[in-house]
Amino acid sequence: MTASDPAPAPGPVARLDAVSVAYGRQAALRDVTAEFAPGAVGLLGPNGAGKSTLLKALLGFVRPDSGALHALGFDVSRQPLAVRARIGYMPESDAHIPGLNAVSFVAYCGQLAGLPRAPAVQRAHEVLQYVGLGEERYRLVNTYSTGMKQRIKLAQALVHDPDLLCLDEPTNGMDPRGREEMLALIRDLARRKGVNVIVSSHLLPDVEATCEHVLVMHRGSLVAAGPIAELKGSGRRAFELRIKGDALRFAEGLRAAGADCHDDGTGVMRVLVGDDRGARDLFALAAAHGVQVRHLRPSVPTLEDVFAQAIGESDA
């Protein structure tokens, strides 16, 4: 951060106090209490965890059945317009105003957000340049590719210079290069431009690449929250194991011994143990369960471990 960069707002950017939301009988958020720290915060969770509902509740699209939401110091249920004037929202699904080219669309969004026409048009050009659509800004939005549509959704969310940007699955459908560029933009906004960002995603690498804090959601509940560095390195050691034998029984044994373990999907078992334990303990445990260790490598705890542990504990 340079001296000219705006200072982040003190205190949490958004706060939820015991918020519950239900669609009919289906609970989408269950008594969620959480704080979004200034800067970039990742909202992680599998599909259906309640991430999008949480963002929509913050915008006032859905009214909580109970609890209170505050964003940027405003009560969302009492001052929704004041909140939305300061929030930029990038929806998950394709969304645009039909019949408009990119400049007209983004300028129109700026006007809707309260900018006078001339500054809105000027900002539209600037923001489109910023998100990498400068050369394509006179094309009709409905002729854009998926990646370009993601960028224009970011542009319309940015045009009125929000203090808080809510991005719902911002890299959906993007090719690897486009995804990297989108993540770079998010990092730049959060770290250099002083915009608070909430990145809702089920992609752990996206959150890890852009955010300092994370909230993990599962089945409508908050199951973990805090700075990513703290969550990853909170007094634990990680190992990668490949074994021969009854993996399920061994995993149960590990859990009974106070370790966390999960399969990374390639047949490699990631095991997290306390700081006071090491490889010797794992070998001993394997021998006790009649399992042969074919490969053991020390590793570092990742966000995926945090996620898997939080989800696992919640399911248990």
Partner: protein
């Protein structure tokens, strides 16, 4: 340094207070329609009756032998009747896609994530239709009255028919609001402008066909309450101070027209949301 570092800056300029976004929506919709040649052609045709009547007013004011075709209050009532076709065409052409197209493009969540209420969104969309419908009903009627006064060189006609200005205003507003909100409600029910237009056309034509069939069988127009157009015509006659054309009490016709506006608003309240809730 990436190119994006050079172009994004925080905005410190003026901002308007929430509450004016409806005018942005309305103006944008008006400009979009005015850029379509076919729509301009429809508007031009919609003023053809005005041109014919203006010529008649001129002739009757300047040639004593033409006094037989001199305007009366009934002339203005008839003018509205004959504009009904253009009200229908403009409503379907300009109104069918107003919300349906936004729903198809998922634009509602873009709109409603901005500092504007659902009522403002609907008001903006309604504004588009209201402006064009008044442009083919109230505006030419008022202009005809002005022309009549100018051609006659006196205010005698206006003085004798002092109720005309409020009558034309009230009836035009009632007709325009009923058509606008009915069309918007149907548009909000679909993601296809074509389907919404067909629904509206079907509702107008079908109810009128049923009424005419019942009338043909019974010989009475007491069932005019079935037809949207007949209810409006009935109320219009009362507003212009002439005998109602159908046997249905005009109060019932008015109730149905107002009820239709009310139901349309309820549908809009239900359908215009930032999030689609599927339970």
């Amino acid at each position: 340094m990436g190119i994006h570092d050079q172009s994004y800056r925080r905005y410190a300029g003026p901002r308007t207070e929430p509450g004016a976004a409806w005018s942005v929506i309305a103006w944008s919709g008006i400009r979009a329609l005015l850029s379509r040649r076919l729509f301009l052609l429809v508007l031009l045709f919609a003023w053809s009756q005005f041109v014919v009547r203006a010529v008649v007013f001129y002739l009757s004011a300047n040639f004593p032998s033409m006094e037989l075709i001199a305007p009366s209050a009934q002339t203005f009532r008839d003018f509205f009747d004959q504009q009904d076709f253009f009200v229908f065409v403009v409503t379907v052409y300009a109104g069918a896609g107003l919300i349906a197209n936004d729903r198809r493009a998922n634009a509602l969540q873009i709109y409603l994530a901005k500092p504007l209420t659902r009522a403002e969104y609907v008001a903006g969309k309604a504004g588009v239709l209201v402006v064009f419908l008044l442009l083919v009903t109230w505006a030419p009627a008022m202009l005809l009255l002005v022309l009549q006064t100018m051609f006659a060189g006196s205010l005698a006609f206006v003085r004798e028919n002092v109720f005309l200005v409020p009558a034309m205003t009230v009836f035009a507003l009632l007709e325009v609001l009923a058509a606008t909100f009915a069309m918007l409600a149907l548009s909000s029910l679909s993601t296809s402008a074509r389907f919404a237009g067909m629904l509206y056309a079907g509702a107008i034509l079908f109810t009128t066909a049923i009424f005419q069939t019942v009338r043909g069988v019974t010989g009475s127009s007491a069932a005019s309450w079935i037809s949207f157009s007949a209810n409006l015509a009935q109320v219009g006659d009362v507003v212009f101070g002439i005998a109602p054309r159908h046997d249905t009490p005009w109060g019932i016709s008015l109730l149905i027209v107002v009820g239709l506006i009310g139901v349309s608003l309820v549908v809009l309240r239900w359908r215009v949301r930032g999030v689609e809730v599927v339970t």
